[in-house]
Amino acid sequence: MSEIEILSWARGPGLQIATVIFVAGVVIRIFEILLLGRKANLAEAKGSEMSSGLKTMITRTVPDKTTFKRSSVTIVAGYVFHIGMFISFFFFAPHILFFKDLIGISWPSLPGAVIDACAVISIIALLAVLVNRLTNKVMRFLTNFEDLLTWFLTFLPLITGYFAFHRIGFTAPSLLAAHLLSVELLLVVFPFTKLMHTFTLFLARWYNGAISGYRGVES
């Protein structure tokens, strides 16, 4: 298989396979979670579930002081990584074209240099959380194979994207193919790993808030 053939596969059938696994996996898991159901709470409600749930979805974005002190590196590097990744993911012109093809809408893009900077910051932040994970004794003790796998699979699209953007080392078709394949790999493992937090994060926050709301306490 030549590099162009690999690129064609990655832009066509490869992407299709990855999308089916990703979409089906995510949808099935979310349905499963939602249909788990909850036992009827026989205690009298002392507050609103909904308002507390919705509020918590937002308030949990800001970590409380104790948590921040305890895991400052994880929180700061985590935020930096996520914001940098979101910008380079959603505001790079070629990526927007991809979304336009997929969902039919597009939005303005940012200049290449801004995207480049965001990607570099994300990469550094991602390396920082790894170093922290491996040097912090508690974190290291809690680390399992899945943690390292998801870190690596998140890191791959960023680094291959950076290489493809700067056209380093290999020919452009190979770099582009590598970038697409790394994204496809991420999509395939996504529903079966902790990467699902992208979708479950807000569900979990709502649930936490709702429990407290029902009890009439602050979440």
Partner: protein, 381 residues
């Protein structure tokens, strides 16, 4: 030159280089007889040296070698092709040094350009092959059908047989055009004739790939000049293309590149962006993945190249350029209908998710039903 001396490291040895006075029947002689001045000849040598990234000190060597080189015998075979490559090489509006050099090779067989026809034409090929065995250059344009030899024949000979026979005595093979180099349009999905490239068939001869649909004429003369000067093939990239011409991508040499970097794109062919000459990436430009010299040597005697005329690069010098999902589909877009795939997957998964959820519930209900509560009496037993 004798037959056994023709190959050195897979490349032909230097073609007769007697230093000093020009040899009779040489390129120098042919050029002078056609009125090419010394100045324009040297200019060509300098241009060739710079294009091929050779040091200026090599210019006199190139000039001497070219001047004294005997007109090499060239056999040009056209298989499954559209004659666009030949058109490209012969349609120079003014007579250039490049075209004269091209005229000055001994083109012994080219079934579109030669005067002879029928048996006479085939005889010319056979004679040229015999007389110059081991020394002639074989130029091929067009792909070779493998499914059925009858799909493309010349004088009743299948393309495959003719290529195999002609390649035997060739010093080197120049595959011209994307069809000969990578299968090109005949090779495009679903490849009804089982078309393959020269390199897929010939394994024991040095092959230079000069892809493009069509390739730039100056690339051919550049490769030819290199062959005549050094008696060897130029440095090739991983898919057999001379690095001097295919070393950089269209994107990296494109004059519209700053607009790409700034994120300024033409959205349609007639919007403000298009009028301002912004980047054509969104209109499907394949410049980022295409390696060719269009952006530097340009076309029509250096007039312009497709992007300069407002059209995206279609990536014609890359393998399988015809199957890249459409000329007007941006490189970062999927080549398949991904939204449909995603919609079907979501619908199917939603149904499956509901089914699994209901199964989980019924399992829970069943286990609740059959669950027997332990009473105090039970514990006292």
């Amino acid at each position: 030159m004798t037959k056994d001396k023709n190959l050195k490291n897979g490349a032909p040895e230097q073609v007769n280089l007697e230093k000093g006075t020009p040899v009779k029947g040489t390129l120098g002689e042919a050029l002078r007889s056609q009125g090419v001045s010394r100045r324009s000849f040297m200019k060509f040598c300098a241009t060739t040296a710079s294009m091929m990234a050779l040091p200026p000190a090599m210019i006199p060597t190139i000039a001497r070698a070219l001047e004294n080189a005997r007109r090499p015998s060239v056999i040009w075979l056209s298989f499954q092709e559209c004659t666009g490559c030949t058109e490209s090489l012969t349609r120079a509006h003014t007579s250039t040094v490049e075209s004269l050099i091209f005229d000055s090779i001994s083109l012994d067989y080219h079934h579109t350009l030669q005067a002879a026809a029928g048996h006479g034409a085939e005889e010319a090929r056979e004679v040229a092959m015999e007389e110059n065995y081991g020394n002639y250059l074989l130029v091929v344009d067009g792909s070779i059908p493998l499914d059925n030899p009858g799909y493309s024949t010349i004088a009743g000979i299948s393309n495959l047989d003719m290529l195999n026979e002609a390649a035997k005595g060739a010093a080197a093979i120049i595959a011209v055009g994307t069809c000969a180099t990578y299968g090109g349009i005949p090779h495009a999905n679903p490849n009804p004739t089982g078309a393959v490239s020269v390199k897929d068939i010939i394994k024991d001869k040095p092959i230079i790939n000069v892809p493009g649909c069509p390739p730039i004429p100056v690339v051919i003369t550049g490769v030819l000049a290199h062959f005549l000067t050094f008696g060897s093939l130029p440095e090739l990239d991983h898919i057999g293309r001379p690095k001097a011409f295919y070393g950089q991508s269209i994107h990296d040499r494109c004059y519209r590149r700053p607009f790409y970097d700034k994120g300024q794109f033409a959205e349609t062919f007639d919007d403000e962006g298009a009028k301002k000459g912004w980047c054509l990436f969104k209109l499907g430009c394949k410049g980022p993945t295409t390696y060719n010299a269009c952006a530097t040597t340009k076309w029509n005697n250096g007039t312009s190249f497709p992007i300069e005329s407002g059209h995206p690069c279609i990536g014609c010098s890359e393998p399988d350029f015809w199957d890249g999902g459409g000329f007007y589909k941006a490189l970062s877009m999927p080549t398949v209908d991904l939204s449909q795939t995603a919609a079907y997957a979501a619908a199917g998964a939603a149904a499956a998710g509901v089914a699994i959820g209901l199964m989980n519930r019924s399992k829970k209900n069943t286990s609740n039903k059959i669950h027997v509560k332990t009473t105090l009496e039970d514990l006292k037993k």
